[in-house]
Amino acid sequence: MDLGQINPLLLLASLMVAATPILLAAIGEAVVEKSGVLNLGVEGMMITGAVVGFAIGVTTGAPSIGFVAAAVAGAALSMLFGVLVLYLKSNQVATGLGLTLFGLGLSALIGKPYEGIKAPTMAKWEIPLLSDIPVLGPIMFRHDPMVYVSLIIVALTWYVLTRTRAGLILRGVGENHNAAHALGYKVIRVRLMAIAFGGACAGMGGAYISLVRVPQWVEGMTAGAGWIALAIVVFASWRPWRVLLGAYLFGGISVLQLNLQAAGVPIPVEILAMSPYLITILVLVVISLRGNHGAPGSLGREFHATH
């Protein structure tokens, strides 16, 4: 064993890369759930974003266009869910699961011609001056643009949810849709917008896996990341900065356990391998023991407009 072989700078840098897909998906889902809708289709929207982002990125040669396309595709798929759940009043859990299955199948179909093709590389942004700071510079400021975009999205989400009227309305709709409706707010419209935002974020998260992290298209490549994102939303008690913390914690442990294995740390591999999941479960238990989960009051409940 030689812990000196683990370079903490590289570890932190790869932590940010490993965490970005789940961070994007989780922040989107947090907004959806804040509006009172539970969308279990995150995995399906991610994988669809992964394949569409990859396909468009390869075709145009520009990963940035791929990310935009992935966001559009994720949002489009989420609208299918939105219409079913909000207008046709279908069960949210079943519809969300259906969306995941649909997304997995659809992506496999779209992705067939793109198997074995290499992705265009995304240039890293070395932020001037900041990237030259010793120690911190290489960790924080030499990433691909999407890492920064994901952080900006978290900051904006926090600002909108807690500091603006729009955020107040969204939270109101999520806490008590009947009261919000009685006050004259358009519950369904607000929720549709939230669901579209969630879909767009999940799509970008998926595209980050296929365009940056892996980078190539492989069927089923999100491999459960959408479910982790869902857990992180609960872990974070629906708060944006805690979503960031949760995603980086999970990403960090996942990367750390691989590094510890490679360095030959004499901890049983099984324990290392399950540690990210174990810690997620532990934190969830601690949160639920405290009683106040912070879950939106109308989460998952069906809304019938009363006139």
């Binding site: 992290r213 492989v218 999100t222 391998a273």
Partner: protein, 361 residues
Amino acid sequence: MRVLKSLLATAALATGLAGAAMAEDKTKVGFIYVGPVGDGGWTYEHDQGRKAVEAAFGDKVETVYVESVSESNAEGPITQMALSGADLIFTTSFGFMDATLAVAEKFPNVKFEHATGYKQSDNVSVYSARFYEGRAVQGHIAGKMTQSNIIGYIASFPIPEVIRGINSAYIHAKKVNPDVQFKIIWAYTWFDPAKEADAAKALIEQGADVILQHTDSTAPQAAAKEAGNVITFGQASDMGEYAPHPRVSSIIDNWGPYYVARTKAVMDGTWESVSTWDGIGAGMVGIGDISDAVPADVKAEAEALRDALASGEYHAFTGPLNKQDGTPWLAEGETASDYGDDGLAGMGFYVEGIEAEIPSN
């Protein structure tokens, strides 16, 4: 996730069955896959084998498959396939072993073939390829080409097949480079591109400049390509899209001839439960083209090693070899036996020199 996978599997099976109902006199051959057919590795090659069966028998045969079947939940899909009238079913992952035997007991008239396992019965054959012969060639090239003397190995599950591969690669790397060190990461998955990419990156960050993988996706190849000065080998499939660098060679599984022969045996009524374990010589293991990134002399040596393994003139596990704890395993000139205590089939130990522990399975 598991529930979802089996749901998916069932849905996929139902679709497969819908198109299958009309053909009664055809021989129906089923395949159970652990990953998607588009993984570019293990499952892809099994599916090539399935296509070879279709090509060989045309109208006389009908094939069905279910992909991405969970190893811990395989009985359902296998049972459904047997119920749907399959005459011969190939289950193509080690983890399907017990499920295959359990289902086979309920369907004595259906023939089963389980890949890489070791439990046989009257209607269950086992077949595997001597991938470790290919690992020997990889180890030789890796030992010659590494500059940092650190070779990274992405392992899947601690089962005999994977451990054999690590040992074989290590023995042959060590033979040509006494300073070589293996860093092993157990990914506990056959297929998870993001995790495989992370594992490859962790190994590269810790100084590895050769990555060997025993997982199924091409993600480690992409990670190595990005790093630039790292070489890799195609696993299960040629992964030629990453040639000539980082992928400098590959182990290619070639199941087609076996699948065709076994299907023929079912058609002729001559099928018997057998145990098949073929290597480079029989053509079940192929060594992919060694690219120009490898120096000519190393390439020539690797090809000579390949040919010696193919002809049987050299065995990949030839003594003197000790186990990791220093106890003697094979005496000078002695070769490992396939079965029995310390045999290759059930290999559960590292050879001397590897600094790591095998996780308990």
